[in-house]
Symmetry: C2
DNA sequence: CGTTAAGAAAGTGCATGCAATCGCGGTGCC
DNA sequence: GGCACCGCGATTGCATGCACTTTCTTAACG
């Protein structure tokens, strides 16, 4: 009945749709304000409207899309002040994660963090932007994981995915790569020293730095 | 076709279902682990399975229900360590809100906070548990609002509703009312003084206190 | 008597269909 | 010429139906 997708599919169709659409939003293929037509999406993914509707509902619950009754769904448009508020939250959350990581990371986690951070110097030297970005995501994930607090991790991951569309192009800015590495270094050093306060401060500063770098691309609304 | 509900309804049926089911979970009418049968819910609310399904999907996105493919939905069971992690997050979030409130609240907000806090002494004296609980919700909402950061407010509100089922009966404990008021007083005093650090500390302590009071009801898992 | 396998019942997952609502274009009226 | 009103197309909201998965039952075999 359906395409090859059925053969590979791991979860339900709805789940697949949620991930697919969320991915298109997060990676920027769908831009804030874009209309999300149920039938087009259904045709595009070769499913009926029902799972698409379901997916849009869940995405709306995750605040990734806006949905007004009888008026359809659009990719969430985030006002300038709300965006600022999200970066502010992100800074606080990352600061908490860094602080807890400094206090709670196991020896193995610390070692892995240090090793990957050290390896990333190569990426900076080669100016490998997309590789560095992938590493950057893993680096931060380690921090969230290292906090050993599932719920804080959830909140942080959620905020990160909501910020993703606005943070995408930041590494294109000249020198941002090296600067990012320096900031990471400060965080890693503090965590390895189990210096919770410095780790928190460094993490906060890092997000603030990302925030201003990203603001360039946000533009006024 | 449908009942009187149609006449009052403000949003869509799905929205109504989300709120209705969430309310039953938060107020404890539905307990963690309870099965959420689509057809029973549909019959109970006089709608078809479709909006119920949709609502369950959204609630699952909000982590209020668990949903396993082809196996139905249940009210989310929260493991002991995850519950602890949620209280920990709540403490951090409230601390942030208190700190920001101390820095950012307008004169009007400060006045309102102080006035209602002062008025609540009466409820403590009369031991008016349910009234105090309602006031308590408002009090904390003021803190979240006063932080002037929409996204932190969202995160905090979300965490609060997820914790609600576990926090419900805490005021029944003897002396909890008076103790709660004392803790509120410390927060209010710090905020009025614009003492961000003390406000954060007091808020963190308050949540920790609520946490241990609630743990009594959580029971081991 | 315990274990396991086959079948039936229950319940979920998705597709389709119809009704209701919104938006838009045209027409009539002021 | 501008404004309001009406009707049509487009799209969403919800109900129903069918297929598939899971699970409970029951019976046969070891």
């Amino acid at each position: 009945m359906a395409s090859d997708r059925k053969l590979i599919r791991t979860g339900t169709t709805v789940d697949h749709m949620v991930r697919a659409i969320a991915d298109e939003i997060i990676t920027g293929r769908l831009k804030p304000g874009d209309r999300l037509d149920e039938v087009s999406l259904a045709e595009r993914y070769g499913v009926s409207r029902t799972p698409v509707r379901d997916a849009l509902g869940q995405l709306s619950a995750m605040s990734l899309v806006d949905r007004r009754p009888n008026r359809g769904a659009t990719v969430k448009v985030i006002a300038q002040d709300h965006l600022a508020s999200m970066f502010e939250s992100m800074a606080e959350l990352e600061a908490i994660c860094a602080r807890l990581s400094a206090e709670r990371m196991t020896a193995a986690e610390r070692a892995a963090l240090e090793a990957e951070h050290f390896a990333s110097t190569k990426l900076v030297r080669e100016n490998a932007e997309s590789d560095y970005e992938a590493y950057n995501v893993r680096f931060h994930s380690r921090l969230y994981e290292g906090a050993h607090s599932k719920h804080i991790q959830e909140l942080t991951l959620m905020t990160r995915s909501r910020l993703a569309p606005f943070r995408r192009a930041q590494f294109r800015l000249g020198g941002r790569l090296a600067r990012s590495w320096e900031e990471h270094d400060a965080i890693v050093t503090a965590i390895l020293r189990a210096d919770a306060t410095s780790a928190a401060t460094a993490a906060r500063a890092h997000v603030a730095s990302v925030s201003t770098a990203s603001a360039v691309f946000a533009g006024p609304h």
